[in-house]
Point group: C2
Chain length 193, copies 2
DNA sequence: ACAGGCATGTAAGTTGTTACATGATTAT
DNA sequence: ATAATCATGTAACAACTTACATGCCTGT
């Protein structure tokens, strides 16, 4: 249900068209709540029908400018303060870690090394974004800075974790690849169930 | 596409029924890649049709035991080593932070305080899980421990971030709520675009 | 007898992705 | 002219959620 609230949130900053909002979804919201064009136009239609937003003007090329209605603002505030954020987060990265015993130890190490490198890369990208917006003031970017800091801390954490995990693997190097012998694997599962 | 690989991964530990796998999805995989019963049975059907798994025995109450085929193991290894994990992660928590200027500063603070508390709670849950499995040996849980450590570091990071963010808000306490005056908000957006 | 756990399946609805399709306006 | 950008819409499909539906087996 959050694309809805992302759209309401962006419109709380002032009227905008679907096309305008899309730039933001591909820009500053890209790593928080990305959306496709197809999805957004559909959602704006539903929001208009529900009277949470309304078309305030129609411009060239069929451009429709939407604005938040009082009901929309109320819904946004309700969501912000009274609806608990989701806690569970799917991660296909961690899912892979779960099954890393299926591949050769060298491949597992390679996997973790790439996670470490990738975290550094992404961290640096965030740093350059931070540098770019450091000059811009304004209370609207105020809270945006908090999400950026979250990203910086997240990528740092992940790099440290990946490096730590590599150490762990190095500490016990003689664990041979599992599932080489299916029979043995089965009994191990039995004891865990 | 990852429910597929989660199922293949679990079956790499030995044959199991849909019901068996479901316990794991609700248990140790619950915070990494949860799945519902409905979804899982459907997926197992598809995997069987694609010859990545096969029914190896049928037991009481219509129980069907599935096992990984060689093709299934190959697909699992391919996914583990050659397919890049997804980097973007939707977070309705961070999405809320983005729009926190819409509510009163006290509500924003309350929001962050709850994130801090929740991180502590979840961290402690992970600690008790860690304590519970600390006795159990076996290379199968080896990599599972890495995901647990990730969770511990993640919850620590989030608590520290939330506390830091609260400090930031305290540092500049006189920022009044935005969107009180729509007109003003609009001009601010214009300068950002 | 009956409660609780075992075991599977289907249907309806929402959300999200990719691709197709169309056309207007602006700047070079 | 024509390329880039502006601007919206639709169709098909995949992934996920909630609810409905059924029935068997085991222990008390």
């Amino acid at each position: 249900m959050s694309l809805k609230h992302a759209a309401l949130g962006l419109l709380s900053r002032g009227p905008a068209s679907g096309y305008d909002l899309l730039q933001t979804f591909h820009g500053s919201l890209a790593s928080v709540w990305p959306a496709t064009q197809s999805q957004l136009y559909g959602e704006l239609g539903k929001l208009a029908e529900a009277k949470l937003v309304e078309v305030v003007s129609e411009g060239a090329r069929g451009r429709k400018e939407y604005a938040l209605t009082p009901a929309g603002l109320a819904e946004l505030r309700h969501w912000l303060t009274e609806v608990e954020p989701t806690t569970v987060r799917r991660s296909d990265m961690l899912l892979r870690v779960f099954f890393l015993n299926v591949v050769e130890p060298e491949d597992a190490q390679e996997f973790l090394r790439r996670r470490s490198e990738q975290s550094v890369t992404y961290h640096n990208e965030l740093l350059s974004i931070q540098e770019r917006i450091s000059g811009e003031a304004g209370p609207l970017t105020e809270y945006g800075r908090l999400t950026l800091e979250w990203g910086l801390r997240y990528t740092t954490m992940q790099r440290e974790w990946a490096d730590w995990a590599l150490d762990q693997l190095a500490a016990k190097p003689q664990t041979e690849t599992e599932t080489e012998t299916q029979a043995e694997t089965e009994t191990q599962v039995a004891t865990r169930a």
